[in-house]
């Protein structure tokens, strides 16, 4: 017994020693490696990163996590961050890090590839793909001719208790921020109050909204476009439909995921190579469109048929300056002001 215990203790000691020794800090400074903090799911972008590894021989080390958690981690790490590249789910977190001076400027050869409305004017980050805000509904309980033409029409009392939203979700907050930019704080406040009076049901994120429509809990919802496509892939008869509001309505906002290189990065060359790869129309952009059902941000990428508004997105979505979407603080204040 005594010998056994001693054995266990020695074995543990050896194990601890081995981790500390072997794992070590992840700062690699040879040019052929890269540390990526990835707020996008491994399920969506993992194969793409593999492809980059294979294509360039650069050893990418990835830390996956929620964008929220990774921004908080980067904020704590400050200058000691091992990260070279941050790939985020939304423009607001990129804007926040950019404002804190955490990103270095990207070379013009990278920023020049994407349209002006898909990159930060400071040149510190670029979008990698887009997702659209849509109106999801139950085709059996909402007639097509009754569908609201604008997101502002959702405050009509006839929708009382029938709407679902995800008021804490980053995509929703970005949408409210865009509404403030486009229509001003007063009109946004009016809309939020009107919505609140219609007692919408609050969900933590987008997919439960779709499931709640399918289950009859609500009739309408405000999610992003690709979730329904995934439910349909599993079940072609899934009883939910989605549509855009009228052309240019703020409810049709196109949100982006994007990427920036940290000022403290040790592997800037590899980091730039990685971003160039993400923006290549034939490989990464086509992959994001066909596999993940997202809108490409550079011309020339193949876009699958199932994407709503395919080819007409420039007409459908409103044009919003991405840099202005970083005022999440103001949006949160406004929402807490109206009691949301």
């Amino acid at each position: 017994m005594l010998i056994g215990s001693a054995g266990v203790i020695i074995a543990l000691g050896v194990m601890v020693g081995a981790w500390v020794d072997g794992a070590g800090p992840a700062r690699a400074d040879d040019a052929e490696s890269l540390v990526l903090y990835c707020g996008r799911g491994q399920s969506l972008v993992g194969p793409l990163i593999e492809k980059f590894r294979a294509q360039t021989g650069i050893d990418v080390k990835v830390k996956y996590g929620g964008t929220t958690e990774l921004v908080a981690t980067l904020a704590e790490e400050r200058d000691r961050s091992p990260a070279d590249v941050f790939w985020a789910q939304d423009a607001a977190s990129l804007g926040q890090l950019s404002r804190d001076g955490r990103f270095s400027r990207l070379p013009d050869s990278i920023t020049g590839v994407v349209a002006e409305n898909f990159r930060s004017s400071s040149g510190t980050w670029v979008a990698t793909s887009g997702r659209a805000r849509v109106l999801a509904y139950s085709p059996s309980r909402v007639k097509a001719q009754d569908l609201p033409a604008s997101v502002f029409d959702l405050t009509d009392p006839k929708w009382k208790g029938r709407i679902g939203w995800a008021p804490t979700n980053a995509s929703f907050l970005a949408f409210v921020t865009a509404m403030r930019v486009e229509h001003g704080d007063d009109k946004t406040r009016q809309w939020l109050i009107g919505m609140k009076n219609n007692s919408p049901k609050a969900y933590p994120k987008n997919s439960p909204i779709i499931e709640a429509i399918a289950s009859g809990e609500i009739d309408l919802g405000l999610p992003n476009h690709y979730y329904l496509l995934r439910y349909r892939a599993m079940d072609p008869n899934y009883p939910v439909a989605q549509t855009f509001f009228r052309d240019g309505d703020i409810g049709n906002l196109l949100l982006v995921s994007g990427v920036g290189v940290l000022k403290t990065a040790l592997n800037k060359d590899a980091a730039h190579k990685f971003i160039e790869f993400l923006l290549s129309p034939d490989t990464a952009q086509s992959f994001l469109a066909s596999e993940d059902m997202e809108y490409p941000v550079v011309r020339g990428a193949a876009v699958p048929e199932q994407l709503p508004g395919k080819g007409a997105m420039e007409r459908v979505t409103p044009r919003i300056d991405l840099d202005k979407l970083s005022d999440l603080e103001g949006t949160r204040k406004l929402m807490s002001e109206v009691g949301l």
């Binding site: 543990l12 500390v20 958690e69 000691r80 091992p82 809990e217 999440l328 009691g339």
Partner: protein, 529 residues
């Protein structure tokens, strides 16, 4: 009976061999708290007035406390009969029933909530698979059901250890003095369950107060939900304040517990603690008993497992899946096994110190171990980022740091069962061993450790299962290229790719189930059969 003997071991010297490891744990536990204080101190008065001191905070507080109290009442009322039935009655297949009662531990809380939610409604899995439309669980009642089912095994396990360790002589004496079985249960058995009840209460109270995944999915707003929103909006100062309020709340719970356990003595009447427990014949009461145990197992085990198997049926299995799956499994196990062992090893001196050398200091250290658990996981992890980068950057993003973080965060889970085991293990056996010439170490290994064994087994299982399921700490402290099963499940379900999530979710469930089964097999069950 003979509880006149002094409970603590008489001692002259301070037991440094216990104080040093306990002090190290205490230090680690306080680091995240210090971090929160640093962040919170960056706030100004106007911020506090507008963001923290508002009626909304009170609503959140009441929601949180109401939910915690309701869950605790539910798990106690259901947990006591469950523990009694599986240890003291003549039910058949008690080991299997025990396993079924414990296995829901293997289901991550957010998955339990999700599958219960997805079962209801006209397009729910209930309707599609069985043709039965179940109600859709949301709000307070949904949260109450999901959190009660999720937490029930913790209460059950704690109570089970306590029931097994009650000296049957006490109950025999009570019966011989003319008490009815009911009176014996209320006057002798229940009071002896108090340490276990409190250990369970504390753990579950902290769970409910700290839960984010379940309440957000079932749409019931509590404190930690609000805290997460604050972090999401990039407001670390507001989040720190909410975190500190949460810790204050849980500290209140700790103080209440301390009061209730003060002066509690539960040593066995004699040296007969290994005597056979009397088995109660249930007669026709056996059927309601089976129904209760199986109904709970159905909702908390069959529903999640069935949903996952249904998803798995829809997954396309490609050649790469096996490799990715194996790596992910390796990552999970390489964190959870060492964390469980470390937490258990660290808990022993703390618990031993508080029981055998009772003093305000030693009990205070023991209580402080719950701080790590009470600190919201997100804040706990960020605090360790803050300190490790400053004090020991070579440890940052290593598996070692992740394991230490887990061991500290879940130490409280290891403490409860050990404490319960130590409460009923008489110090006089240790005294006897010392008087027979055995040294301190030899006595510990030959006498105390075997007495602690049932508690240790449960401790290891609890921490192992918690680490397998954990998310926020893994997000922040995991080494690069470290993708444990829990992160995989979160990732796929987050993107509504349920079929792809299924193999990983099933692995967590089956692996945890295997682990729990293995541990229960080594338990002291055989003595009571």
């Amino acid at each position: 009976m003979t509880t006149l003997a002094a409970y603590p071991v008489p001692h002259r010297r301070r037991p440094w061999h216990l104080w040093v490891p306990a002090g190290v744990c205490l230090g680690g536990m306080l680091l995240p708290l210090v971090y929160l204080l640093i962040r919170a101190s960056e706030a100004d008065v106007g911020f506090l007035r507008n963001e923290i001191l508002r009626p909304r905070t009170l609503v959140l507080l009441l929601n949180t406390l109401g939910l915690a109290a309701s869950v605790l009442a539910t798990v106690t009322v259901v947990g006591v009969p469950m523990a009694w039935l599986t240890t003291r009655s003549d039910l058949k297949a008690r080991r299997l029933l025990t396993l079924l009662a414990v296995l829901p531990l293997a289901v991550p809380g957010y998955l339990m909530a999700y599958t219960l939610l997805a079962a209801g409604g006209p397009y729910g899995t209930g309707q599609r698979l069985l043709g039965i439309q179940l109600p859709r669980l949301t709000g307070f009642w949904g949260a109450l059901l999901a959190l009660s089912l999720y937490n029930l095994p913790y209460m059950f396990l704690n109570l089970r250890v306590a029931m097994q360790r009650i000296d049957p002589a006490l109950e025999e004496v009570a019966r011989s003095l003319g008490h009815s079985p009911m009176q014996v249960f209320w006057r002798v058995t229940v009071p002896r369950l108090r340490p276990a009840l409190w250990a369970g209460t504390l753990l579950i109270g902290l769970h409910v107060i700290g839960d984010f995944g379940v309440v957000s999915l079932l749409r019931f707003e509590t404190f930690s939900f609000a805290l997460y929103k604050q972090v999401e909006a990039g407001d670390r100062i507001g989040a720190a304040w909410l975190g500190l309020i949460l810790i204050a709340l849980t500290s209140g719970l700790l103080l209440v517990e301390l009061r209730f356990l003060r002066g509690l003595r539960l040593d066995p009447a004699g040296m007969a603690s290994a005597r056979v427990q009397r088995v109660v014949r249930l007669g026709h009461w056996a059927w309601p008993a089976y129904t209760l145990l199986l109904a709970i197992a159905f909702v908390s085990l069959v529903v999640p497992l069935g949903t996952m198997i249904y998803w798995f049926g829809q997954a396309d299995v490609d050649g790469n899946l096996l490799g990715r799956w194996a790596r992910s499994l390796g990552d999970s196990v390489s964190a959870s096994i060492p964390a469980a062992v470390l937490a258990c090893l660290a808990a022993i001196p703390i618990c031993y110190l508080a029981r055998r050398y009772p003093s305000p200091a030693s009990r205070g250290v023991e209580q402080a171990m719950y701080l790590g658990y009470a600190t919201p996981a997100l804040a706990f992890a960020l605090g360790l980022v803050f300190f490790s980068l400053r004090a020991a950057p070579f440890l940052y993003q290593t598996l070692a740091l992740l394991v230490v973080a887990y061991a500290l965060h879940f130490l409280a889970e290891a403490l409860g069962p050990l404490r319960t085991a130590l409460f009923v293990a008489t110090p006089r056996m240790e005294e006897a061993s010392r008087s027979l010439g055995h040294g301190r170490l030899s006595t510990f290994v030959r006498v105390t450790l075997p007495l602690l064994r049932p508690g240790m087994i449960v401790s290891l299982a609890l921490v192992f299962l918690s680490v397998m399921k954990e998310l926020p700490i893994a997000f922040i402290l995991a080494p690069l290229d470290f993708h444990p099963l829990s992160l995989k499940v979160w990732d796929y379900t987050n993107e509504a790719l349920y079929a792809q999530a299924a193999p990983y979710a099933l692995t967590i469930l089956l692996l945890s189930a295997g682990f729990v089964g293995l541990l229960l097999m080594q338990g002291p069950e055989e003595r009571s059969t």
